[in-house]
């Protein structure tokens, strides 16, 4: 039993060790740029990835600013797609599952936005459809993928690829969780730092 646990952790360790640090840093720059132009960040994925997208949105929109919620400051606008279950099922039932992200994205997306697409295989058709649409509008795409990166890693402007054995969802998703938390932590520390400096200046 312990051996099994050790093996899992070793694989996770290895994936974390091999993360593309430069690409994650590029993602920070993209998110910062979107904030400056008052754009929005649309994030989506299937299954566990959708759950992570939902989790990340609440962290990024609130936790980043949580020490200063009483102050009137501009916050991030991260939005999970589809925004409601009704939208999800309406698109899936009426237009097919391939449309569940692209459909809502076409409603919302503007030039100044960015998207984060999460897909372990990097090959989910519904994800790729939305990514291709964003690219055709010159909206930056942060691709968070696993396994061999798939088509998502090819298409993405920022390639956050967690190389793993095919089918090892547990490891990929665990590491994706770390990356998403890293984004939140970076901006939380950044924002706190700015507010402290402002406090000192007053």
């Amino acid at each position: 039993m312990e051996e099994y646990i050790k093996q899992f952790l070793a694989r996770t360790d290895e994936s974390i060790h091999n993360l593309p640090i430069k690409e994650i840093a590029k993602a920070f720059n993209v998110l910062q740029a979107v904030y400056e132009r008052d754009g929005r960040i649309y994030v989506f994925g299937n299954g566990g990835s959708l759950a992570m997208a939902t989790h990340w949105v609440s962290d990024f929109n609130k936790t980043v600013f949580s020490h200063h919620l009483g102050k009137q400051v501009k916050r991030f606008q991260a939005i999970r797609l589809p925004t409601t279950e009704s939208e999800l099922t309406a698109w899936a039932n009426d237009e097919g599952f391939d449309m569940v992200f692209l459909g809502p994205l076409q409603n919302y997306m503007r030039e100044g936005d960015a998207i984060i697409a999460i897909s372990s295989s990097g090959n989910s058709v519904n994800i790729l459809k939305a990514v291709e649409y964003a690219k055709s509008c010159e909206v930056p795409v942060i691709g968070v993928s696993g396994f061999d990166g798939g088509k998502l890693n090819e298409l993405a402007d920022v390639k956050i690829f967690v190389p793993t054995e095919k089918g090892r969802y547990g490891i990929v998703e665990g590491v994706h969780g770390v990356i998403l938390h890293l984004m939140t932590e970076y901006f939380k520390d950044y924002f706190n730092h700015v507010m402290e400096r402002r406090g000192r200046a007053d």
Binding site: F28, A33, R37, E111
Partner: protein
């Protein structure tokens, strides 16, 4: 409505001229700042004219009659000859500050006019379209660094390759180092203006004679980047100081003595280094100085501007930004819904 940032160029300026980079890769390191130019393109169905609004307002029947050179050339090149369009521009700062404003305007204009035609330009396409407008269509003796800086936004290294392609490397500077760098920067607008092209056209003929110096300038981008990432602000200041001395040596006409005096006054008051932004003929002077010395430098500048009757001379606080030229509002309704 399109917004384009202005920029501060740190090292490598001049190596973005084709006379240099066609022979050896040119490189520029720059960063955009929170001062912007806005361009508004609007259809005017009841006015069968071309309207251009800036410090002046022009109302003409055909784009060829427009006096604003960039707008005229852009409309003619894009073949926008159907009347009923107004183009307005708004700016945080006046022209000729040395912060690349004319190219920021060109990028915003090209992005806006293309959007008016229903076409979305990538950052690279917008930079190239603006470069083509300014360099090829208007024959200005400038390089492409400003158009790229404005279009992409943020801290970047641009490499201008002999085959005319441009590589863009975004510098991954964390927030602490970025804010620390900002804390050391003092920017002053001098109120002295001189068009960049008058200095640059002269610089162009000097490339042959000073080819090795230009190669050093292009290479200095790497050292600057390393120092920036390491947080070695004093080292950066020293590099800028040496760069300014080098730039002066490249120009055969005397540099603007008054600007040089301002620079030396700042150094005398405790700045580690700095540079004259733009082509060296005026505009802004930037100092890198330790925060405790900044009060003294501010006082020195105030006195200097007063003594030399430069009423427009003043400090211009800035922050670095990450976003480039963006369409903030695209109100293209079609088919009445």
């Amino acid at each position: 409505m399109i917004r384009a940032p202005l920029r501060m160029s740190f090292v490598g300026g001049g190596t973005d001229l084709p006379d240099f980079y066609h022979r050896s890769p040119g490189r520029v390191l720059s960063a955009t700042i929170d001062k912007y130019i806005y361009v508004l393109v609007n259809p005017t169905p009841l006015v069968d004219k071309f309207m251009v609004k800036y410090q002046k307002t022009e109302l003409v029947d055909h784009p060829k009659d427009i006096q604003h050179t960039r707008v005229r050339a852009a409309l003619l090149d894009l073949d926008i000859t159907k009347s009923g369009i107004e183009i307005g521009s708004f700016a945080d700062l006046p022209a000729k500050t040395g912060l690349g404003s004319s190219s920021s305007f060109a990028v915003a204009l090209m992005k806006g006019l293309n959007a008016y035609l229903g076409k979305t330009l990538s950052r690279e396409e917008a930079a190239e379209a603006a470069s083509r407008l300014e360099i090829e269509l208007l024959g200005e003796p400038i390089g492409k660094q400003d158009q790229y800086a404005a279009s992409f936004g943020g801290f970047n290294i641009f490499q201008f390759n002999p085959d005319d392609s441009v590589d863009v490397e975004s510098i991954l500077l964390d927030y602490k180092k970025k804010l620390e760098f900002e804390d050391h920067i003092l920017l002053f607008y001098t109120g002295i203006t001189r068009p960049a092209s008058s200095v640059l056209s002269d610089q162009k003929s000097k490339i042959d004679k000073n080819f090795e110096t230009y190669i050093q300038m292009a290479d200095s981008v790497f050292e600057f980047n390393e120092r920036l990432l390491a947080g070695d602000i004093k080292g950066i200041a020293k590099m800028l100081h040496e760069g300014w001395a080098r730039k002066k040596s490249l120009s055969s006409s005397a540099p603007n003595m008054l600007v040089d005096e301002i620079y030396n006054a700042g150094l005398g008051a405790g700045a580690w280094g700095g540079k004259i932004l733009g082509a060296g003929g005026g505009g802004c002077v930037m100092f890198i100085a330790p925060p405790p010395a900044q009060g003294k430098i501010r006082e020195r500048m105030q006195t200097f501007f007063k003594e030399h009757e430069l009423p427009e001379g003043r400090e211009l606080p800035i922050h670095f930004t990450h976003t480039g030229t963006d369409i903030l509002l695209n109100n293209h309704y079609q088919n009445g819904f």
